[in-house]
């Protein structure tokens, strides 16, 4: 019980500071849940991100549900999800409530724009920290190159990159090696 409460508080904090889209949450969860608390391993977390991306729904919601489940079961999965959207939803409610007043507040817009480079730093730091466990051997460089080629050169969706790398993984690690 105590653990679930601490998890909920962690996800409330993550939700409150996750500016800049789904991957900002991915970065914050890495920092808080994997690196600081050690509740999940990097390997587990990389798999969670991959599945969150391949299934329907917002990345932040999927990641929170999955992380909560792996840490402490289905109830924790649901509670972590509700926690992560708690503060954002309250803020959205306030925004709807004071619709006319906040419509064009320049100060808010300046601050929100200013947070974006911070969000970039958060995601990049999480990426570097995860890369250490995402790259297993020299073949991993090939998988990374394939995924980058599919996303940046062919401009296909990340899901296609994940599925292609997964299929190649089965072929290489499961059949050939």
């Amino acid at each position: 019980m105590d653990l679930i409460l601490r998890m909920c508080l962690a996800f409330i904090k993550i939700g409150a500071f996750c500016f800049g889209g789904g991957y900002a949450a991915v970065g914050l969860i890495e920092n808080e849940i994997v690196r600081t608390m050690g509740w999940l391993t990097s390997e587990q977390y990389i798999n969670i991100i991959a599945i969150a991306e391949m299934t329907p729904g917002p990345i932040a919601v999927n990641t929170s549900t999955f992380a909560g489940y792996l840490m402490a079961g289905p109830v924790a999965g649901i509670l972590c999800t509700l926690s992560v959207i708690l503060i954002p939803s309250c803020l959205a409610l306030l925004t709807a409530f004071f619709f006319e007043k906040v419509k064009n507040n320049p100060k808010v817009q300046v601050a929100v724009k200013g947070i974006r480079p911070g969000a970039i730093g958060i995601i990049a730091a999480a990426g570097i920290s995860l890369a250490k466990s995402g790259f297993h051997d020299y073949w991993s460089i090939l998988f990374f190159a394939l995924a980058a080629f599919i996303i940046f050169k062919l401009k296909k969706s990340p899901i296609i990159a994940l599925l292609s790398c997964g299929a190649l993984g089965i072929l290489l690690y499961g059949v050939i090696l």
């Binding site: 500071f17 999927n62 803020l91 601050a111 974006r116 970039i120 730093g121 466990s133 997964g166 499961g174």
Partner: protein
């Protein structure tokens, strides 16, 4: 009406893979065209407002639209509608996940996927940097690199970084305004 709101957003949650911006056209289709609950313009307003909030864009947007339709109960119906498909699907996958990971082919699949996840993160950083036009603004570039460094190497909490980045932007903005006001003389200063 509350049930209708729930199921409209349930459909949105169920049929959008990738999340975030991928959901917006589908929400628009469901709420504006299928149901006629909001005009396209009201919908765009709701996005530009909720876009500045933290958290998932889809649930923020759902909260806002739900409130405009049926006050707080409408918000709750819309939020629950958006997240229920995710929760059901992820819980089902999570239940078999540990068992499935014992299979060597599933392990091989995820060995290949690991480096691809790194590519997705690179992509997220790239897209955010592009939309923030970070290379055109020296201050933003410095903040981004400094954020990365203090989190990655000094172990500073990202929350401090978010707060510091917002303060830096506000200070820089007011400095910029005072400078233009000084240059422009007395007739300037009424515009923001």
């Amino acid at each position: 009406m509350l049930l209708q709101i729930f199921f409209s957003f349930f459909k949105v949650g169920l049929f959008t893979i990738g999340g975030g911006y991928a959901m917006l056209p589908i929400i628009q289709e469901a709420v504006c065209h299928e149901k006629g609950w909001l005009t396209d313009e009201e919908f765009l307003d709701s996005i530009s407002l909720t876009n500045s909030l933290p958290g998932p864009l889809a649930t923020n947007c759902a909260t806002f639209i739900g409130y405009r339709l049926k006050k707080v109960p409408g918000s709750i119906a819309a939020i629950l509608g958006t997240i229920t498909p995710s929760i059901i699907i992820i819980l089902l996958i999570a239940m078999i996940f540990n068992h499935a990971m014992e299979n060597e082919y599933v392990q091989a699949f995820f060995r290949g996927v690991g480096p691809a996840v790194f590519a997705l993160i690179v992509n997220a950083v790239y897209k955010l940097a592009k939309s923030a036009k970070i290379l055109e603004d020296k201050l933003m570039l410095i903040v981004a690199i400094a954020s990365f460094a203090v989190i990655g190497f000094l172990g500073v909490t990202p929350i401090l970084v978010v707060i510091a980045a917002a303060i830096i932007a506000l200070v820089a903005d007011s400095v910029r305004k005072t400078r233009t006001a000084e240059k422009g003389g007395s007739d300037n200063g009424s515009h923001s």
